[in-house]
Symmetry: C2
Subunit: 256 residues, 2 copies
């Protein structure tokens, strides 16, 4: 998953602290010292001290026996504060509400981080189905309309540097060839929005558009619809809502 690394001197304990937190985040549930040790590779004793410290601080919790570790409550507060402090999320609120009202479908605002997109805000469809999407969730950029819309604001060369040659498939429809994806990005630039045809979740089609308040774009909005419910008229309405939302967001984020 690694983002930027390799800079000069780093504070070792700080690196390990966040790596540990990310480890526990990536594998929910409780883990023994030994199993953590095997995964992260630090010496047992170093890991032990670090875990003790983080437990004292409430960022990691232990079970009743004190020998199995899991992510703690304190981590929750910090994570969600990223959303609170973000000016784009704040500025997007009315637009997302409006998109939700207009389309009656599930709306997402997401940000590109490395090769993943991160959900920043959602508006759930009020339909019978409660889709399981959550703020903070990460998905591969190449399999989502949000990610593809954002990648399309990069040059082909930048995309080649960012993504590996073959991409991990999530469904049978996921593009696994980087060059084929790049070809699709050209189409996306042409038409102004991206489509995910069950490339991420079977039965779900998503329409995404980048909000180009900076170049390359960082944030995008999308609308997800079960294919079963999709008609040509509905699709056109969604596309209109998408362009409308982009214009509104561009206006709202002008001064950022």
């Amino acid at each position: 998953m690694g983002a930027a690394e390799g800079a000069g001197s780093q504070v070792k304990s700080a690196v390990r602290t966040v790596e540990l937190l990310e480890f526990f985040a990536g594998r929910p549930g409780m883990h023994s010292l030994a199993s953590v040790q095997e995964s992260v590779g630090y010496p047992k004793s170093s890991l032990y001290m670090l875990l003790r410290t983080l437990v004292d601080l409430g960022w990691i919790e232990t079970d009743a026996t004190g020998t199995r570790y899991g992510i703690g409550v304190r981590a929750l507060l910090v994570g969600t504060s990223y959303i609170d402090g973000d000016e784009v999320v704040a500025a997007a609120r009315p637009t997302l509400d409006r998109m939700s009202d207009d389309t009656s479908e599930t709306i997402h605002l997401a940000r590109l981080d490395g090769t993943s997109i991160v959900y920043l805000a959602t508006r759930q469809s009020q339909h019978y189905l409660r889709p399981f999407t959550r703020v903070g969730r990460r998905l591969p950029a190449h399999s989502t309309s949000l990610g593809k819309a954002l990648l399309a604001t990069y040059t082909d060369e930048q995309v080649r540097k960012l993504l590996p040659e073959t991409l991990e498939p999530l469904t049978e429809h996921t593009h696994t060839d980087r060059e084929k994806l790049i070809a699709e990005l050209a189409v996306i630039r042409e038409q102004g929005f991206a489509v995910d045809r069950e490339e991420n979740t079977l039965g779900l089609r998503c329409f995404g558009i980048a909000v180009p308040y900076r170049t390359p774009a960082r944030d995008a909005v999308s609308c997800s619809v079960p294919v079963a419910r999709l008609t040509a008229a509905h699709e056109q309405m969604i596309k209109d809502a998408l362009f409308d939302a982009r214009d509104r967001l561009l206006l709202a984020t002008r001064r950022l």
Copy 2:
């Protein structure tokens, strides 16, 4: 805000790392090195190294100039994973949905952490008003129905150890005297649930009940209603839903 501290040898950089993250979480927006230095008190150079490290890792972000710091995207993932991995949250899902359907009001599931409660899950009322409550938000235990319901599962002595003598008021109705609060806790134990009469937010009354799958209880559920919309019949219905929910949750969390 401090929770447990004062244990023996702790890894200094790890402590500082999370303290820094909590600082940025507590004060959204961008901060200069000097202003952070003043708040946390670490030597400039130590702080500088730490910040550089965390920026490299994506947990802290800088603006374009690279001199102002704010919380980063990576923090988001870890925080929300606490919710994902929690068995109680998972087990509570259907019960919360049912409470939401039954009452048509805003439902909360929260956990006690020190003297605060932390929202773990919410079901928003579908009414015109979209109340601003968010998973991860912390509120003082003494001013919420959730917190009081949880505190009532502690002994008076434990409560005295936990809370200061005078409590911070949030509205004109907040109890500020610890002993008065303890007296109220006795009533809560008697009737089985807690009420917040605009002690936290003006115009909002909340009914909370602890889920005693362990002692003292850790989690509670609540139902928040604008006073303007509250009738005697509605209130009775909410209380019934509350007891019903507690029983369901107790059943669902039996094996934890």
